[in-house]
Amino acid sequence: MTAVPTGPTLASLSRAELSARLAHGLVFRTGQFTVRLQCAIGSVTEGLHRLYGAHPLLDDDAFVDFHLRMKRPATLRRWYRPKVDLLYDGQAIFKPLPLAQAFPLFEWGLNWCVANRAHTYLMIHAAVLERGGRAVILPAPPGSGKSTLCAALAHRGWRLLSDELTLIRLDDGHVVPVPRPISLKNASIGVMRAFLDQPVFSDEVADTAKGTIAHLLAPADAVARGAESARPAWVIFPKYRAGSPSLLEPMPKAQAHLELAQNAFNYSLLMEQGFDTLGLVIGMSGCYRYTYSVLDEAIAVFDGLAAQP
């Protein structure tokens, strides 16, 4: 295990300093990746100020994996329908979005960078958390309550590795963290505001492709331990169903393998390596389906798993 990094973090910058650094390019680390973001948009500065305080701040001349720049297209429409572009080393990767969506766009752009580039990992669209060195992988389609469950567990004794991108090392099947803010949608935002004590959120952004979005601060300890990998121990497909009792059902491993593969970004790209790595993960993991409606019951079930030898 790598030691916890002790260098400066973004929290060492005042909001004004952060804004100045962003104007010419702010370099920071998230897990295994370094990012340079150039951006002079207030909502992005504010989002980073609130949610990236624990992320390691790097020198301007550090090696950068992903060069991102956000800017407002210089068209007449900037005056009556302001938009924002995200450029990956000079090339637009998405259509421009309304300016109000700038911070979520940054988050999506960083997801895009990892999911489209980091092919030395098997990448699964899943939340992943760790406790006692063992990781639980929560793959699920949008709307299954995965991020809500992840946010709750991350504040009740589990270490957040990622809420969207489960990165699995190809040689040993271990999970490598990308600790970042947790993306919550629509009703989940209110649920977590009520569930957590004084949660820190980014401003809510309405009318995005996913509805209303807000990002929740990742616990500082999880960000600081961004270099500590974990061995998979459970693969659990969660499903929120209103009024449902808490129900943990074992799942055949072959079935879990197939469904996990369907949630992978680069399973077919990795060919045999993807199959073998997924096999390694499934081999090391207990596989379950989990239906729930009450977060406290869910936490009890996960704590029960963590207590097993």
């Binding site: 090696f63 000079g90 998405f94 259509k95 999911a115 580039r117 389609p141």
Partner: protein
Amino acid sequence: MTARALPLAVLAFRDPSRLVHFSLAEWELLLRQSAAANLQARLYALLEERGELAAIPSLALRHLRWTDTIARRHWRGVHWEVEQIRRALSGLGQPLILLKGAAYTMAGLALARGRLYSDVDILVGEDQLDQVESALMLHGWVATHLDDYDQRYYRQWMHELPPMVHIKRESAIDVHHAILPRTAPVHPDPAQLRAAAVAVPGHPGLQVLSPPDMVLHSTTHLFFDGELDHGLRDLVDIHYLLREFGHQPGFWEALAVRARTLQLERPLFYALRYCSRLLATPLPPEADALRNAGRPAPLLLAVMDRLFERALLPVHASCSDAWTGVARFCVYVRGNWLRMPPLLLVRHLFQKAFLSPKDVPEDPPGAEAEQARP
């Protein structure tokens, strides 16, 4: 142009022995330039061939491995796709002639390692176009570019059918009946290209162009085309083809004869010139005859040097100067000028600028929408 002023992505292929001496900062810039030029996977292959993967900074090597993963998948995908096309067209009773990337891969050429593909290109007789199109449609490929103008553009003026895409695999195929548009001023005889095509050892039913024709097609593609987004990648392709075939006895003489017969001396001249000037491609004394065959007038050549030595560089901010935008625009107009007579060109550019729907990047996202496709 002095070697000192060349971008790192050019230097890397011009003098690969320098790669292991680049600093971490130089590597970061080289990775960015080579990604913009679609040459990152080729760079990995180059280092692998030289046994130098372990000698470069691990942070840079990680990026190259990421891209190499994609290249390996593409390599496998092309084999699969070519086999599907061969089966779909087996009823025609003709060998399947592959062009460009798919040809390099199936023929096992060195430059195929580390090449990324967007489509498979094939060459068929013009009299077989209808049969080929129907056979492909029966096997799941569907036409794209369905608007009336594009249909007319391809079918009446171009040298290929509108690109087709497989409805399930989303793989693209370009069906060519010639290597230049009908509207271009020269018409390299496709029947001669097909007649000289050679079998691919180990792949019955497949053919690729003969070595001189393969070089000429690659040079024609690069120096008749207006869009040089992958200009350096295409030039590096030619660099590798010349190095691979240049050792075969009689290759350079055959290339000279073939360039004259097919009226392609001018693009070949440019290819050899910029391969030599940018990439220091070794040209033996036998190639001397070619150096002058298609040479333009001195003034024109001076202009072309200034245009191409900008437009052939990676599309990246670090490779641009104040004139790069102008140079790319001139090359775009020139490419279209060469492909169409003036009035038709004016009409085409007007249509593309003001009437046709624009190409736009994908909708944003959510990570779940970003499934990486091979």
